[in-house]
């Protein structure tokens, strides 16, 4: 089982990003996904900056994948996407069918978590188009994944989003700008003020969702650490950990140690609870509401 680091979903200052990936080079990760996948207005890092990071991470022994934008609207976004896909060196992650179309038959690609692959026929289509790995949509359950793996073309790796606030929705509207009273065209990049997004609470002050520009995330942090033994048995190839602004090194370490058998699932989960943003959730994996925390699974067995 390999560990991957997903793309940074938030808008961090340039120095913070550069510093973050300097640390990432030292972490026990196999794969690192790089690039802006949320909003094309976030341009503190130029394509060359990303390539420099990619080079350093490759030198540190990581497999680098360039991730592409999820919601594509403007011509300029398509051009940037094409440049990323034709980079000639690194694998790319397609998060939209436009990216799949650009890569299909030309370069291998990772079929990202937003392509809506829900069945074996879709998996086969992606495989035929040149996918070498696919990432399961976050709302699918262990039962569906097992059925998919039974019908999965051989030679196609399976990756599961195993830690982080869940990417739940995308919109033409920028909700960060909206809640700051600004139009999107004059957003002043206010999403940069929120290193882990801004929490949206119910009127009872219960954390519910997180606003991250045009993206809506869960307020809970999804953790499938408890399902790790199950995923190993199923033959999942890669676990994706999605960056948070603090304690990410510890998160990686916990997953690595549990995989390695040095740390129990129970102890690992206990530690994650202390450093995760918001409560932990794992409901999607067990076929329930995504926001649920299915406790039995953690209490039993693998501890």
């Amino acid at each position: 089982m390999k560990l991957s680091l997903g793309p940074i979903l938030y808008f961090w200052p340039r120095e913070q990003v550069l510093d973050f990936y300097k640390q990432v080079a030292e972490w026990p990760l196999d794969i690192v996904y790089l690039g802006e996948v949320i909003c094309s207005k976030r341009r503190l890092l130029k394509p060359d900056d990303w390539l420099a990071i990619a080079e350093a991470l490759t030198a540190a022994g990581k497999e680098v994948v360039l991730s592409t934008l999820t919601l594509v609207e403007a011509e300029s976004e398509l051009l940037a996407m094409r440049r990323a896909i034709e980079n000639g060196q690194y694998l790319v992650e397609a998060n939209d069918m436009a990216a799949v179309q650009m890569a299909a038959g030309k370069v291998p690609f990772v079929a990202g978590p937003h392509l809506n692959i829900y069945n074996c026929e879709s998996l086969t289509q992606m495989f035929k188009a040149g996918a070498t790995r696919w990432v399961m949509p976050v709302e699918l359950s262990n039962e569906t994944l097992q059925a998919l793996l039974n019908g999965c073309p051989s030679g196609l790796e399976t990756e599961v989003f195993a830690y982080g606030r869940l990417p739940l929705a995308f919109s033409a509207r920028c909700f960060t700008a909206r809640n700051e009273g600004l139009p999107k065209d004059d957003c002043q990049l206010r999403c940069g003020d929120y290193a882990d997004g801004v929490v949206m609470r119910s009127q009872e002050e219960e954390d519910f969702l997180v606003i991250n520009g045009i993206q809506t995330q869960s307020a809970t942090t999804s953790s499938l650490l408890d399902a790790l033994p199950e995923m190993v048995a199923m033959g999942v190839d890669v676990l994706r950990l999605s960056p948070q602004s603090r304690n990410m090194a510890e998160v990686v370490e916990i997953f690595y140690e549990v995989l390695d058998g040095e740390l129990s699932v129970k102890a690992g989960t206990k530690s994650l609870k202390k450093i995760a943003n918001g409560e932990l959730s794992n409901g999607f994996w067990y076929g329930k509401s995504g926001m649920d925390w299915h406790v039995e699974a953690v209490a039993e067995g693998h501890g």
Partner: protein
């Protein structure tokens, strides 16, 4: 008339289908009574017998019937979706509206003569994405997600030979269709998996001394004072706290209406405009179809002289969510 734009109206039931056809719809769209379509609500949709009746009624009056199979089948229940494709083909529908490219592969392979439309749930927002479906499955039409501005819609049309259908009126999805898991995050059921958003069985209303609360699987979505009008609690249109401020954090209850820009949409080259609302009443369908038929005819006959009539606007606002309308993403300011 050259380049006639098709008016596509919702048929959630046989009476709604009749209302649409009788009031001037060029085509109606409907779904089977199960999770294979994105309006899987109790009491809605068609079994095989009523579907046959509906198709006959529409065809006798020159209207087309499009069948929506626009949810995403999972391996455990794949056979139901395959059977639905076969059933639709046997019934003689004029086109299938599909979202899942796996199911599309099946349909194209098994029924090559059957016309395929890419559903809005397929999330194709660019000519490149559309080309993926065109080249592999020979789709004839795409329904665009409600995320593009008018100029972006134009650019898509200019760069594809696939017909483009856009939404004209009805409840507004704030998120890119087909990529929204908010409902399953809260309730376990989403449009993609079950054909339901904020499903009724998860909704609970409670009267409190401070007003009327509405919960979705326990989460407080909104709270209404005695004289507030309370709509259906779709979770993206509730009131929440952001940085301590209470408001419609994502979107107000409102409906999309393109009445103001119909000539521009026609000029952009749309092939069809669509009315949302298979879950709405036959009276709604009749009202909206009647108004849009008149508006579309007027805008095509004399685009330069077109202005939306005040009675049209009033009639549509009466049946709109929140009794108000917006151009949504078609207008940059909304974004």
């Amino acid at each position: 008339m050259a380049n006639k734009v098709e008016l596509v109206c919702p048929a959630g039931s046989f009476p709604a289908l009749r209302a649409a056809v009788d009031n001037g719809a060029d085509a109606v769209y409907m779904g089977f009574r199960d999770a294979t379509n994105a309006r899987n609500f109790p009491g809605l949709n068609f079994d095989e017998r009523t579907a046959r009746q509906g198709i006959e009624y529409a065809h006798q009056r020159g209207a087309k019937v499009l069948l929506a199979l626009n949810t995403y089948p999972q391996p455990q229940s794949w056979a139901i979706w395959e059977a639905a494709v076969d059933k639709a083909a046997a019934l003689g529908v004029d086109a299938l509206i599909l979202a899942d490219f796996g199911l599309m592969a099946y349909a194209a392979r098994t029924h090559p003569q059957l016309r395929l439309h890419l559903s809005v749930q397929g999330s194709a927002t660019s000519a490149e994405a559309i080309a993926f479906y065109r080249e592999r499955f020979n789709i004839q039409r795409v329904v665009l997600p409600r995320v593009l501005s008018l100029s972006q819609v134009k650019r898509v049309i200019n760069n594809t030979d696939v017909e483009v259908e856009t939404f004209a009126f009805g409840s507004l999805c704030v998120m890119v269709e087909g990529r929204c898991y908010l409902s399953s995050y809260a309730t376990g059921e989403s449009p993609n998996t079950c054909g339901a958003c904020s499903p009724a069985k998860s909704v609970r209303w409670e009267e409190t001394p401070h007003g009327r609360n509405v919960r979705l699987n326990g989460v407080l979505i909104d709270s209404y004072k005695a004289d507030d009008s309370a709509g259906y609690p779709v979770l993206c249109k509730g009131r929440f706290l952001v940085n301590g401020k209470l408001g419609y954090a994502l979107e107000e209850p409102t409906s999309l209406s393109v009445l103001d820009i119909l000539p521009q949409l026609i000029e952009a080259g749309v092939s069809a405009i669509k009315v949302e609302g298979r879950q709405r009443s036959p009276a709604y369908v009749a009202q909206v179809t009647r108004v849009l038929r008149q508006a579309l005819d007027a805008a095509q006959a004399n685009p330069a002289g077109y202005t939306p009539r005040r009675d049209w606007v009033a009639q549509l606002d009466k049946v709109a969510e929140g009794s108000t309308h917006t151009l949504g993403a078609l207008e940059r300011n909304w974004q």
